[in-house]
Symmetry: C2
Subunit: 414 residues, 2 copies
């Protein structure tokens, strides 16, 4: 079994000199157990925000290449300081920028994708018993330009390094103990999971419960990297994100989430002809607006002929995106000469996620019944192979979350 362990510490974990020293002490304890360590770090606390502010004082619309040149200094500062902290407690360590360990990405500045990693230098240094500290969030393109990976980029760096180095696992340190059955701040009985599958984690991440960024999880799934989500404040076992095959007992529902910052937009009276939905969601996707639940229905107004059938499309989107979405769709309704738009911010989305749904029937029915028994009206429903989402009234959101969490036996007390 590989002795290589990748550990990733986020911006909060390296937020000030004292915390950096604490991270160094933790690394030392693993080093002394005989692990070969590759450590990925993010920029310290608010460094990135400060650099963004600085750029804002210089230019209204700074070019992305130069933003990446600027922002990548944040991680470079962290890696140098962490290497110093390790030296200070007599652990040999070397820091590396993304470019120095050949994390080669495409040329899509500010949102680049990793294409390859050359591990030669890292392996040589690990064999010399050096701890290798690698800057997260950054790489270089084929022309040596510095690129950044976008949101959650340091997680992706860590997983990609673990894949390239065939590491034992990739530990992601956060400010929580692991992945929970639901948000512990909202439901008292929330329980930490020991294991979760990539697909479940992806559904949970995209629902905003994410301690991990989707892209990192997708990468881990693709290369079979075990991600271990742990707290940087204690030494407890966290949650391992693994492939479905490794999960022995397939619990029906693993996690339950609540999303309260979405609204519903309804586009009514639109022509019932092929391609309309594609046109709407294509236009919204171009603006990078995140759509979650979609429901389409068609109706024939009383007394009309077949040709008059009309369509209604309703979907959920972030409240913050309403304005942009409206103007996108108004362009379309003008073109069609038909259609009206209405929005409702008074909604919440409760979702249950679990790979066990694939083999268990009646999961949806249990969820619907639990909500109905408690007079919570379901306004929209959306299902996938491992997820059920219900749109309900916003003021019943927390009740619904607790109920669904309990009905699937996820409570600690259960």
């Amino acid at each position: 079994m590989s002795k290589i362990l990748v550990q990733k510490f986020g911006g909060t974990s390296v937020g000030d000199p004292e915390r950096i020293k604490r991270v160094a002490a933790r690394i030392k304890s693993y080093y002394e157990k005989g692990y070969q360590l590759v450590v990925v770090v993010s920029a310290m606390g608010h460094t990135t925000d400060e650099l963004v502010d600085l750029a804002g004082k210089i230019a209204k619309n700074p070019p992305k290449r130069e933003m990446d040149m600027l922002l990548s200094t944040g991680e470079q500062i962290s890696i140098a300081l962490l290497a110093m902290a390790l030296h200070d407690i007599e652990i040999p360590a070397l820091s590396f920028t993304g470019g120095q360990v050949n994390i080669v990405t495409d040329g899509n500045f500010s949102n680049a994708r990793i294409e390859s990693i050359d591990t030669k230098r890292l392996i040589a240094e690990l064999d010399k018993k050096q701890v290798c500290i690698v800057a997260g969030f950054q790489g270089i393109d084929e022309n040596q330009n510095i690129t950044t990976l976008g949101r959650g980029g340091s997680d992706t760096t860590a997983v990609a390094l673990a894949a390239a180095l065939k590491a034992k696992e990739c530990e992601i340190y956060t400010d929580v103990d692991g992945v929970y059955t639901t948000d512990p701040n909202k439901v008292e009985g929330a329980r930490k999971l020991n294991q979760i599958s990539y697909d479940e984690m992806l559904e949970l991440a995209s629902l905003g419960a994410g301690v991990l960024h989707s892209r990192a999880v997708e990468f881990a799934k693709k290369y079979g990297v075990v991600i271990h989500v742990k707290s940087s404040f204690n030494h407890n076992e966290g949650t391992k994100v693994v492939s479905e095959n490794e999960i022995m007992e397939k619990i029906t529902v693993t996690g339950v989430t609540l999303k309260s910052d979405d609204a519903r937009m309804t586009v009514a009276d639109i022509p019932d002809k092929p391609g309309i939905a594609a046109e709407i969601f294509g236009a919204l996707a171009d603006k990078k607006i995140n759509i979650d639940v979609i429901v389409q229905s068609s109706s024939r107004p009383a007394g009309s002929t077949g040709k008059d059938r009309h369509n209604t499309i309703a979907f959920t989107l972030p409240i913050a995106a309403i304005g942009e979405a409206k103007s996108v769709i108004e362009t379309l309704t003008k073109k069609w000469g038909a259609g009206s738009i209405s929005t409702d911010e008074n909604i919440a989305i409760v979702s249950a996620v679990g790979i066990g749904m694939k083999s268990h029937t009646g999961v949806a029915a249990s969820m619907f019944k639990a909500l109905a028994d408690n007079n919570i009206n379901i306004e929209m429903i959306s299902t996938s192979e491992i997820k059920i989402s219900c749109v309900i009234a916003k003021d019943r959101g927390k009740d619904a979350l607790r109920l669904v969490h309990a009905v699937f036996g996820l409570d600690k007390t259960a």
Copy 2:
């Protein structure tokens, strides 16, 4: 004649967003004149000091490799911001780290020397009408480790780039108008020089009058790069540092300097045998203590035989280095079983520099006479081909500076 112009802006010139914009506007004016511009910048104002402080909070004795990794972010921030500022006024610009333009140095972290520059990328971008902004002070060694060049490193980067690119000249922007005959803050009549030779500049730089770092001047001399020292606050012509051959009229004395932070250390009663001086100054050089004037004298005590000849060596050194120098020499006097050390902080060194001294006689005599006529006692004298230095009492320093400046006709009014 080459259309390539290298311009270097120091930390003060890019100290805040407003100043960065002003630098961008200046660059634009040159760009529009048709120059191909390579711009070297230092870290913003106090960035480097702040990073050094941060490192001090992490480790008592941080490894130099990691200090270079840390400090090089300062210039990387400046280049990104300056490129943004240029884009904002519609001048195409790309920023480059030292590594990205292959400024290859030796592996001597924190004080590396440039070994080679590969100009391919720069020339390609210049030909596409891009302004190329290069981080000063930094390079990479043959293993891709980031190195820094030590004090005055950005000047060296600029001169090295000008040499490699065969640029028309290398403009160094500072907060003064150019090189003066003496410090204008101390002598009212100080005059800006239009031209100065490399050797004169080297003598002046090493005397602390330096707007330019010695290593940059040495580099310029070696490769025949014309350095043009200019103010970043106006558009006046500055001072050109050129080879001796290009200077038409060889003025006897070009500049006069005063050094008031040196002390004299006298080591008396030491054995008069070969190698003693080498031992003393070798040991001081090992500690990187800067010695300026040296005077050695030997005497035979009254009534003694030839074998009893004793030696006295006196030299000047920075006041701040007295403690270290004392302990170095005490080790030697113990070993010899002879010698006593005394120090005198009450001195100043006034120096006159000029290539014209080579062909003019009587320069030293004029200087000594001017001092003697004004009752300024000369305690030590040191001369080189183009420099005369006199050690005098500290409280007569400014008087001496003014007198020597006037006697060689350097005053504006002269």
